[in-house]
Subunit: 186 residues, 2 copies
């Protein structure tokens, strides 16, 4: 890190991340994580999910508090709109993952961020989930993320920040590549 | 629907969904939706996202209220744990999408649900996002969803419910198949 970079503070502890990388290189078993959510049906399309515990660094871990989320479908689908639509949670996941990455990479590169905002848009043809046209997929046709970033760096360096964040993003990978999902009934 | 099914109430307005299918078959332009989230960086890996408006049925729509979400990394990653981790939002999205589907399909098939709960687990090898091993992906190695369902139906019929929900789920499709994502800087 350059001398000027020492004054940059985006609130990311890059040193700790670099130390974690070294530690996990020596102990790959500790790098095996298991993330969890529990979803409970309320009524209609409304459900309540909680996120609390996860496994990592070889032990059971817990968040500082339990995070709770209501999901539902909107009124235009004859639902009660008690929470965000499941697909909107995917957009939140993608935006927050890329944004955390922008902050971490900026810190590592000695770039002071002043403002970072992203609009995440997913287009969807409802003929898929409604079973009208079997050639139309259920999910998004595509997703567009637009960043508005004010930082102490040139436009090219800001674009490079965002590109590096994509390269290291877990959710970007999940959305752009297939993941195997098994669904069982207890 | 059978006579006995008339007494089944899972809170899903299947009639309205069937009418929507008929209406959108005749007017496919109205089936084009655009879902959105706006993510604003707070500090470090902490961001705040909001979900409010979306486009569909040929017009701009809004949720009844603005849904807000904090995302962050946990303390074991030297972060402040101000919210769920972005990848946990993906698990919430998947669980809530499949669960809404279970309720809708059960209503359509005349099956009364009493309890539906799902545990969604995503395994991840952190050697990916930390850049330790380029052969390890950033996202989940795999996801396992386990349903616990109490309903007025045989075990086979309950398993068939869950299978049909997977077939019609937007988030299941997003996670199991690739989606094109473009990221731009304004």
């Amino acid at each position: 890190m350059s001398v000027s970079a020492a004054n940059v503070n985006n609130g990311v502890n890059v040193q700790a991340l670099l130390e974690a990388r070294t530690a996990l290189t020596d102990a790959p078993a500790a790098a095996q994580f298991n993330w969890r959510a529990v979803c409970t049906w309320k009524n209609g399309t409304h459900s309540h999910s909680t996120v609390k515990g996860f496994f990592g660094l070889g032990a059971e871990q817990t968040h500082k508090s339990t995070f709770s989320f209501d999901a539902d479908h909107p009124e235009v689908f004859a639902s009660e709109d008690q929470g965000a639509t499941p697909v909107e949670f995917v957009l939140v996941a993608l935006g927050s993952c890329l944004t955390a990455g922008v902050a971490a990479v900026a810190q590592h590169r000695g770039i002071q961020l002043r403002k970072v905002s992203a609009t995440i848009e997913g287009s969807m043809d409802l003929q898929g989930i409604l079973g009208i046209d079997s050639d139309v997929r259920n999910g998004f046709c595509g997703i567009k993320v637009t960043y508005d970033i004010d930082a102490d760096a040139s436009r090219d360096k800001i674009k490079a920040l965002v590109a590096q964040s994509q390269k290291r993003s877990a959710v970007f990978d999940i959305v752009t590549n297939p993941t195997n999902v098994t669904v069982e009934v207890k």
